[in-house]
Symmetry: C2
Subunit: 381 residues, 2 copies
């Protein structure tokens, strides 16, 4: 076990209908006016928005709203949110949506308390000192953003998809209501599964040291994702499977998998963020393309771990068989594994490699992930 600090004060309110208590949760933190941030108008059509507003109003909490957050959330929308938060003097922010909404909300919460450009935080020109308290009702399980203090946003001008992280950016309360997630499309379910796999496997394979206890923790998450995804593809309304899938997704990126680990990096995410930035592919779809390719490129660096993965997660023997089993499983559930399947032309590899190398440099692994290395990986996809 390597030294670590574990701190995660987010309160999770998990269960059926808990979104109807959001007014109470927000009120407990002394917030009187929130900015509700969401994606498409779907939450209005479904009645969720009205239920949220009713719950807030019951506790005397007023609100402003900002819709239109897109997958692969963009900086311009974050700027819009910051301006609105400042103008309307809200004292809290509520995300209602998936990972992209939550990520945007984290940037808005930090930017609303900062005089400079919020992008400064993403490029380490400044560090988040304070933020508005933030809350979430998560409608898509995948990113773990509901229980961590990080967020990823794309700067459209520079085509950089970068991250910010700060102690003040843990949501105060996040609602996980499995029923709300049961309307997620088949497509986004399998992309989410790929995203969770990538969160786990980036760490599992890249770490120079990982405690056996944590290997077991990650394998349990992955087995849960496999089992529940298969159930949900057959029965989208299976509440138990939806709930376990959601909670496994949260655990995959709430810090618990990082405890005692050393030398890990976000290898597949580095490559995928370039794909999202240049081609606006769904994050999970990009990851399911990158992951098997990266594993093929990487396996020689950590063969024993690949053998363990094969056995513990897919019940097969040997590093190659494990990678093949994952690729086969991605095909089976219907998420892409080749660039072409994601509509990414092979002649874009050079641009992708350059963009990804920029992020690798920003994240301190630019020497490992040169454009040449990233090119090699992408050519395997």
């Amino acid at each position: 076990m390597k030294d670590f600090t574990f701190y995660n004060p987010t309160r999770i309110e998990f269960g059926q209908g808990k979104e109807n208590n959001i007014g109470q949760y927000v009120a407990e933190y002394g917030v009187s006016k929130v900015l509700i941030v969401y994606g498409s108008e779907r939450i209005k059509k479904s009645g969720l928005f009205d239920r949220v507003v009713a719950s807030l109003q019951e506790k005397g909490i007023s609100y402003e709203e900002l819709g239109g957050v897109v997958s692969n959330p963009v900086l311009s929308k974050v700027h819009e949110g910051i301006q609105l938060a400042k103008e309307k003097q809200v004292d809290g922010i509520l995300a209602v949506g998936g990972g992209s909404v939550l990520d945007s909300v984290k940037a808005i919460a930090a930017g609303a308390k900062y005089d400079g450009d919020v992008w400064d935080f993403f490029v380490f020109k400044a560090f988040v000192q304070e933020a508005l308290p933030l809350f979430s009702i998560i409608t898509l399980a995948a990113t773990g953003s509901e229980m961590n203090n990080g967020g990823v946003v794309m700067n459209e001008a520079t085509k950089e998809k970068f991250a910010l992280m700060a102690p003040s950016l843990f949501p105060k309360v996040s609602v996980i209501s499995p029923e709300l997630q049961s309307t997620v499309t088949r497509e986004y379910l399998v992309y989410s599964a790929a995203d969770i796999f990538a969160h786990c496997l980036d760490l599992y394979f890249s770490a120079s040291y990982i405690p056996t206890f944590i290997k077991g923790h990650i394998e349990n998450i992955l087995r849960t994702v496999i089992r529940t995804t298969e159930i949900l593809l057959e029965e989208p309304d299976n509440y138990e499977a939806r709930g376990e899938f959601a909670w496994a997704a949260t655990q995959a990126l709430n810090g618990s998998t990082f405890t005692g680990v050393e030398g890990n990096s976000y290898d597949t995410h580095i490559v995928e963020h370039a794909m999202s930035a240049l081609f606006n592919i769904a994050h999970g779809a990009g990851l399911s393309i990158v992951l098997p390719a990266w594993m093929k490129w990487h396996k020689q660096q950590n063969v024993a771990q690949y053998e363990r993965f094969a056995k513990e997660v897919f019940g097969v023997e040997g590093a190659d068989a494990g990678i093949q089993a994952l690729e086969d499983w991605f095909k089976k559930i219907g998420t892409p594994v080749k660039l072409e399947e994601g509509n990414i032309p092979r002649n874009a590899i050079a641009d992708l490699a350059e963009n990804a190398h920029g992020l690798a440099t920003n994240w301190g692994v630019g020497e490992k992930y040169t454009t040449q290395v990233i090119t090699e990986i992408l050519e395997l996809a």
Copy 2:
């Protein structure tokens, strides 16, 4: 998944020498004078106490001290601590020791802010409204008390070993320094292993519903305990094993194993607390006696789960074989499995059953755990 709230704001500082930063951790919470609570004088002889004091003084934090907390911590010592905390006007409490010190500190932290008798909290005559901020340096992994908000204390007058729990009783910061734990005796290592097993298995078997994801989480904890205990019996200074053992112990009672679970109770703890109260047996030793007996009595109520346990934890087939494997493992590591081995005379069963039934009633399962049922269980031990 059943509805749940998960909230655990304790910050864990895990690693070698982190106890030497305790002054900094305490100062971050604005505390200027702490009551240091500990057990035996061993922490003075080892130099730990001096290092703690030096770290506090470096940050300008003054201190009072209270030693002499015993295993199966007693109410009279808690009263002493509360009086001292009030008289000396400390604004924080620091536990340096194992679970019994931490449990005492929680009661002191609550009692120091209460005008009545702290025992009121244990018998639900009153509820903890506020508490002094508390910190810990844990020198024995077992109870998980370093990352939860509960504590168990024995009332010597009534021979009741009861618990208190409150949102304000999470430690602000707990230091887990594996090296500090390497001097734990062989005896207390194996008692700790039994304690962790009981924390996990009370839940695992008694729950009327438990998500498969959580079953896997618990099994991973138990496999880790088996593996690391065996290493530590051979090599007490094995840092990796000590660290994994400690972190698994924390996870076993930090709330993570309870998420989405329904209908669980602390069955073996109910019986064991009576044994500790009447015979002052080490808690873990009492648990290793009760656990296999309780499992034999209980297995018919949940056969499938016992079969799963056998396979996933010990790699054997069948409910009975799993129970036998656990009993054999307890014998192998050298923790008692029969009343006689714990120096508890068989003619005490009636008194034990009566005492345990009292706690069962206090914890809301008095109808299930009648004196007759508890007698049956103890007769199997």
